[in-house]
């Protein structure tokens, strides 16, 4: 018992001795979270090439991009020289500065970003723990204007390069101004790298261009420092006639690098586009007989439509013969005779070599000629109505003037002088059809050059309508004529002394088929220059009506549709050698002959030539001929 009490006493004494008398907290709640890891963040100002010091040259917005920032941003503060300038709590982090409002000199710009640690710690919860990201750069505001420079321009590696002496200052940016005359205005080019001293104009593919090097910066704007002008065509394009009337575009050794350069050829509303190569030879078109055509040859950088350089290049179908007023194809003699105002030219066929010429004398101007189908006899007339017989195969033989005036006075309404003679056909037996023009009248006449007589004539027509010479068969046996205003034409037959009317046919140009079996009459609705419908009628000359006032028996006919597309029906022709008749229409500057077999009326072919509406376009002995001096054999 005593021992127990001793222990109790010890407990009590120990309680007084070792226990704290007063309660004191001696426990903690410890959260074992780790401290946040270091954060690596890359801060980019505007772009990766941004450099400090930065020369401010214009109102500028600075954007700070925090790459690899994986923690939420708390806020940011932008300060300049220690003074807070901008702040915020949300990306993007940006601010704008205007040079005008910044004192000249150097300034320190600092961005300070606070980002959450997301550690969950007490400090983080009390906003006392965060990452701090800081980025500074030096900003310089320099208002000194750079000095003048002397730019030069030259090709470098196939591109036009404008060079100038480098400027040591950095307080500006270049403005390259281009005046590209007379083409589209070109946008200015801004060069911010002040260390550059060359501008490559990748879009230049030729032309007259002026480059002005200007600078802008703090306190100065677009100050011109130098100008240089350049003019060149770096690609020598040639447009030439190729084989089979093709047109070829040829160029060699382009001065410019052709990479990413486009070639466009514009013609007749169509455009060919191909990549430009250093050299080239390509077919770009096909011509028709006698055609002249211009092409816009355009080069440009792909997509750079403002800087297209255009050149006009033309091609002309070669003229084998001279332009003429009248022609005669002497097939048996392989000769072509052409009549101009000043001469008659003789060409060899098919070489078309000019072999001889008959020049008009003094003030005589040739106006036309007529030659027999066998090429043995020929008559020419002058602009004053004088008539001469000449040897179509021998120009050295002397000309003999025919006494036309005296012989025709009784039939042409008086003694007024002849001012104009339009020749028609000359038959082998010397009968020459013509229209004699006098003041106030025109008279259809058949003149016998052997006897200086007039075996047939029509009453003088006293109005201004066009009067066509009568048609005479090659042997002189038949005559056909239209009297202006009449609804029908008359056909006559030679009786040895005069022409007797044997029947009627439709009005219009008339042609006798070989062998005198048939007569062809091409008719249009009214007189010349009328729109279709027209027709071709072929009548029988061997079965004559009892009454000469009746129409000859019609063997075949063809009606032409009214207005084929936008084409116009212009005229009808006939080639006795090939027995082909043809119609002609003109669209724009193209004349087209449609060939038909006179025997079967079948469509044979179409041939085209380049000519204008008053001009002529013939098909004769398988040649197509224009009075512009073009001629080709139709296969």
């Amino acid at each position: 018992m005593l021992r127990c009490l001793q222990v109790l006493s010890l407990i009590i004494i120990a309680g007084f001795t070792f226990q704290r008398c007063t309660f004191e907290p001696d426990n903690q709640f410890i959260n074992p979270i780790p401290p946040p890891e270091p954060l690596t963040v890359t801060v980019e100002v505007n772009d990766p090439n941004f450099k400090s010091p930065y020369y401010i040259v214009e109102p500028t917005t600075f954007i700070f991009t925090l790459k690899d920032l994986t923690k939420p941003m708390v806020d940011y503060v932008i300060s300049i020289d220690g003074d807070d300038f901008a702040s915020g709590a949300e990306a993007p982090i940006y601010f704008s500065l205007t040079p005008y409002h910044i004192p000249s000199g150097s300034h320190k710009v600092t961005m300070r970003v606070r980002a959450k640690t997301n550690s969950g710690s007490l400090a983080e919860q009390l906003d006392a723990e965060y990452y701090v990201i800081e980025k500074s750069f030096t900003l310089i505001n320099d208002r000194t204007i750079p000095s003048s420079l002397n730019p030069t321009v030259a090709y470098e590696n196939g591109r036009l390069a404008i060079s100038w002496s480098a400027i040591p200052q950095k307080n500006f940016y270049y403005v390259i101004k281009r005046t590209y005359s007379p083409y589209n205005p070109l946008p200015d080019t801004i060069i911010r790298n002040t260390e550059l001293s060359t501008f490559i104009d990748n879009g230049y593919t030729g032309g007259d261009i002026t480059y002005t090097i200007a600078v802008s910066g703090s306190g100065f704007e677009r100050v011109d420092l130098g100008t240089v002008t350049f003019k060149d065509d770096p690609v020598d394009f040639q447009v030439v006639e190729g084989e089979e009337k093709s047109v070829r575009l040829i160029w060699n050794n382009s001065k410019i690098d052709t990479q990413n350069i486009e070639l466009a050829i514009d013609t007749d509303g169509q455009t060919i586009k191909v990549p430009l190569t250093s050299s080239g030879n390509m077919v770009i078109d096909t011509l028709v007989l006698g055609e002249e055509r211009n092409y816009w040859i355009k080069t440009s950088e792909v997509g750079n439509w403002r800087q297209v350089y255009s050149r006009m290049k033309g091609v002309k179908y070669p003229s084998q013969i001279k332009p003429f007023k009248s022609h005669a194809l002497l097939v048996d003699q392989n000769r072509l005779l052409l009549l101009t105002s000043n001469a008659i030219y003789e060409y060899a066929l098919p070489s078309l070599i000019l072999e001889d010429s008959l020049l008009a004398q003094s003030d005589h101007k040739f106006s036309g000629f007529a030659i027999t189908d066998d090429g043995n006899r020929a008559v020419l007339t002058t602009e004053k109505g004088r008539l001469f017989e000449f040897n179509p195969l021998d120009f050295d033989a002397p000309l003999s003037e025919l006494g036309l005036f005296a012989a025709t006075v009784p039939y042409t309404g008086g003694t007024d002088p002849i001012y104009d003679v339009v020749l028609g056909d000359l038959s082998r037996n010397g009968l020459l059809s013509m229209v004699i023009g006098k003041y106030g009248s025109r008279t259809q006449v058949v003149y016998d050059i052997n006897n200086s007589a007039v075996p047939w004539y029509a009453a003088p027509f006293r109005y201004l309508n066009e009067v066509h010479p009568p048609s005479i068969s090659s042997d002189g046996r038949y005559l056909a004529s239209d009297y202006p205003g009449s609804s029908q034409g008359e056909v006559y037959q030679w009786n040895g002394a005069a022409f007797d009317q044997i029947g009627r046919v439709a009005t219009g140009p008339k042609f006798f088929r070989p062998g005198n079996r048939e007569i062809i009459s091409g008719t249009w609705k009214d007189d010349d220059y009328q729109i279709s419908p027209g027709s071709v009628r072929i009548y029988d000359l061997n079965t004559l009506p009892a009454d000469p006032m009746q129409t000859l028996p019609l063997l075949r006919s063809m009606e032409f549709a009214n207005l084929v597309g936008d084409s116009y029906f212009w005229s009808i022709g006939y080639d006795q050698r090939t027995d082909i008749f043809y119609t002609r229409y003109v669209e724009n500057v193209y004349s087209t002959l449609t060939l038909y077999d006179a025997n079967t009326m079948a469509l044979l072919d179409k041939v085209s030539a380049f000519t204008y509406s008053p001009s002529v376009h013939f098909f004769e002995s398988n040649y197509q001929i224009t009075d512009r001096g073009s001629m080709e054999y139709v296969k």
């Binding site: 226990q19 007063t22 309660f23 907290p25 709640f29 979270i33 007490l122 400090a123």
Partner: protein, 237 residues
């Protein structure tokens, strides 16, 4: 009120000394439990704030210390003067690598009073007494918060005071060995808490507008050792 208590205590002591058969002095130590309901409510409300803290002390039982002067008026009955000191507290804490935050409610009391005891068994060696005490005491509370982040520390505290009255019935077993007395006491403190306020007379108020006080009510278990003084000492010897 204070005067009444003091006069009663003096009368009791004077009467005891005049009529005493024996006098003893004792030292006590033991453990007390404390209700502290309003303090716990305050701790709960503070915990609901934005801080991440956790409760690490919820007004636990804690050591109490006391002393008494007892006068045995006859073989079964005596009176005593009694003084006692006790403390407890509540703590909210949160600590991590970045720092710590702590909210403390530290309370202590010092009270004194008179008591009487009446033997309720017939054993001479192990007499068992029914006891009762009337006590008056003063409570001090320190409410503080401490925030430490890195090298920075913020600390705030307020001091509150209250005057309490309590009645403690209990049982006491005593054993005498020569001139030494050993006691085991078990009591139930029934307290009337006073208004807990600072020097300016302001109190802490809960969200339900009730004032916070210090409720020391609870069990008291102590052991005591002392010396027997006076005439009974020889007789017993």
């Amino acid at each position: 009120m204070k005067k009444v208590v003091i006069i009663c205590a003096l009368i009791t002591i004077t009467y005891g000394l005049c009529a005493a058969q024996g006098v003893s002095i004792m030292l006590h130590t033991g453990v007390g439990t404390f209700a502290m309901k309003k303090q716990k409510d305050l701790q709960q409300e503070v915990r609901g704030s934005t801080m991440p803290w956790r409760p690490v002390h919820k007004f636990p039982p804690y050591w109490i210390y006391g002393g008494s002067l007892s006068i045995q008026l006859n073989s079964q009955f005596g009176v005593s003067a009694y003084a006692e000191y006790g403390s407890t507290g509540g703590t909210l804490n949160y600590t991590d690598y970045s720092g710590s935050v702590q909210f403390d409610q530290l309370l202590r009391y010092m009270q004194g009073g008179i008591g009487m005891f009446l033997q309720i068994n017939l054993s001479d060696k192990w007499p068992l007494f029914a006891t009762s005490h009337l006590l008056v005491g003063k409570t001090k509370e320190t409410v503080s918060s401490t925030l430490r982040l890195g090298n920075s520390t913020e600390h705030e505290s307020i001091q509150l005071h209250a005057l309490n009255f309590s009645f403690r019935p209990g049982l006491m077993m005593q054993h005498r060995v020569k001139t030494f007395l050993f006691q085991a006491n078990l009591g139930m403190e029934i307290q009337l808490p006073g208004k807990l306020q600072n020097e300016d007379g302001n109190s802490l108020v809960l969200q339900n507008r009730e004032e916070v006080n210090a409720q020391w009510s609870g069990l008291r278990a102590t052991l005591g050792v002392g010396l027997l003084l006076g005439k009974n000492k020889k007789a017993e010897d």
